[in-house]
Subunit: 357 residues, 2 copies
């Protein structure tokens, strides 16, 4: 377990076998000695430079640079109980939805000097619990987690942590602390309203990886169709596997097969599925939107350029990441947060794939 540094050494121009000054880690004290000040002054130069006279500051900075000193963040965190770390838990790295949220988080947190420790929960509350423990062991100053599907134990940990926490992606009745999201159920409802408004009558549903948010969209779909007296459970096709364009095409085929093609519109629970359905429809020589409407969800960029362009529900993913981060930073700076619950809303982007009128 010792001597794990022996690999890179060969890349360095080993001068002699004599002990080299660069062999041991450089600490605050080394910098202090080199610049003839006390350790605490070096610490100040790094963390509160305004408290050190300019001459000393320059002198110390020179020593820092020439020694190549890099502070040990663990020691700093331990001594100050401030880690400058924000924990983030998302269910999947391969879903563009989350990576865009992440972008927003990184943008804001990076600018504010926070590091982001990211974990992937694989859509599993149990794994999430484990990952949250991991995050908490790093004493993060704040936490951003996805949804409200935590285990009881996990909720306990989170509350005990006494740090600002934002649950993102969906709106929760009882958030652990703060909450930023939008109403998936209402969005699903509105999509169906739009399709009905365009004169489509038999509206199918395609879903994959039925996570809580997808379920809510489906409930909205169902409610709208029930109100219109047009709900038929046979029009729903779902699979627990991850969604993808390929799966979208397959589900579309099986929907058309199982309903003998009476379907005249499909609400796909995300754009990957919708693209798969669209391309499959083209191959089946089904005209979109004349014979069939296709609506996606998330409004990924490519949907605006397909032929026909794809109707979808636009969501401020990047903005959600930004908002959640800003809320945490406000709390950390003891500034008031306007509201603990923020509804980011959504917008149905009506494009060619659903306009028959």
């Amino acid at each position: 377990m010792l001597a794990k540094n022996n690999n890179c050494v060969q890349n360095l121009p080993m001068k002699t076998t004599k002990k080299r000054s660069s062999d041991k880690k450089i600490t605050l004290v080394d910098v202090a000695d080199a610049s003839g000040v006390s350790a605490i002054t070096v610490s100040r130069v790094i963390n509160q430079p305004e408290k050190v006279s300019e001459s000393l500051r320059i002198q110390v900075q020179k020593a820092i640079d020439s020694l190549g000193y890099i502070p040990n963040q663990h020691a700093s965190s331990l001594a100050s109980s401030r880690s400058k770390v924000i924990g983030v838990a998302i269910p999947s790295l391969s879903n563009i939805v989350f990576t865009e949220v992440l972008r927003g988080i990184y943008e804001v947190m990076g600018a504010a000097g926070y590091k982001v420790l990211l974990v992937d929960t694989h859509y599993s509350p149990l794994e999430e619990e484990k990952m949250v423990r991991t995050l908490l062991s790093q004493s993060p100053e704040g936490l951003i987690i996805t949804g409200g599907d935590q285990t009881k134990a996990c909720q306990n940990f989170l509350q005990k942590a006494r740090i600002p926490i934002v649950q993102i992606m969906e709106l929760l009745a009882e958030p652990i602390d703060m909450n930023v999201g939008f109403a998936h159920g209402r969005a699903g409802f509105d999509v169906v309203q739009h399709l009905l408004g365009q004169g489509y009558q038999r509206i199918g549903f395609i879903g994959a990886r039925m996570d809580p948010r997808v379920q809510q969209r489906m409930q909205g779909y169902k409610l709208a169709l029930e109100q219109a007296g047009k709900f038929d459970k046979n029009f729903i096709v779902t699979t627990p596997e991850p969604s993808s364009t390929g799966v979208g095409g397959e589900l579309f085929k099986s929907l058309m097969a199982s309903t003998s093609g009476v379907i005249d519109a499909v609400f796909c629970v995300n754009d990957d599925l919708a693209l798969g359905a669209l391309f499959e429809a083209q191959r089946m020589n089904i005209r979109v939107p004349e014979d069939l409407a296709i609506c996606g969800f998330n409004d990924i960029e490519v949907g605006a350029y397909t032929n026909p362009s794809l109707t979808s529900v636009s969501v401020g993913r990047y903005e959600m990441g930004v908002k959640a981060s800003e809320m945490i930073i406000r709390v950390l700076n003891d500034k008031p947060v306007e509201s603990k619950k923020v509804d980011m809303g959504y917008e149905i982007k009506k494009r060619a794939s659903t306009s028959r009128l």
Copy 2:
């Protein structure tokens, strides 16, 4: 700067104003006291359970659970100089290429008990240098960084760190330590060969965000056309802005305009651009592949389902992340690494968008 915990408190059922046991952080010593053993024994139960008798282990574990103890990783890292952190630097979070590599990294590193600290360098060596400092301040046990475009200072830091480092995505002549990637130049060359083989004569090039790897692909493209005596610098259209489907369409339009439409094939430097070009070609009523071939790069999933399906260069992104991680873990476990340089190769997926024969 004090009292930053006051926000979440209101979510907790405050029993009384008396001091509550859960108010202070629980440490190893608390667990030790609660279970009647010494601190070091608790430490062993957590880190080397096989060294503690079963009875004690159970007894201590009970105390850990009931107190909800979560170890302080900073203290642990400081005392043991093992952080269980791997640093990862990528140029962009919004590029699917990197998120798939990340998936591979997370899969392997997570399973091996390592946390991943991820930073985004925004394609800037200067920002990368800053970010690498941030990573190193966390005393990572290993590092995965993208490409070989580091600043001199950054290289210095990296070598001084004496930890296993893998540079990924491209093959480097002189890697800092280890290297996993593939030959972008050769891939570009092979794409052109393929197009020429299909009888296309005037092959255009569309590129965006011309990072080093994209440049290499372009050099390969150029070399192949020069060898065939068919290079024309007017057939190249690039932009420094980030690539996207929208940009792909625009660049395609301007390529066709500036060349009066003599182009009969386009090599797009990635699939986003290629999709944009394909959809734009459809709108311009250009038949693909009869009148025009389109080839992308990266082989993202949706390209296999468009009509026509998109020829692209498939790269083992996930596998690259896995490989890099495995190499680091081997080094950390003092196991030999077969080779410090690994060529992951690539494969041209020949699909309908380029088959005229």
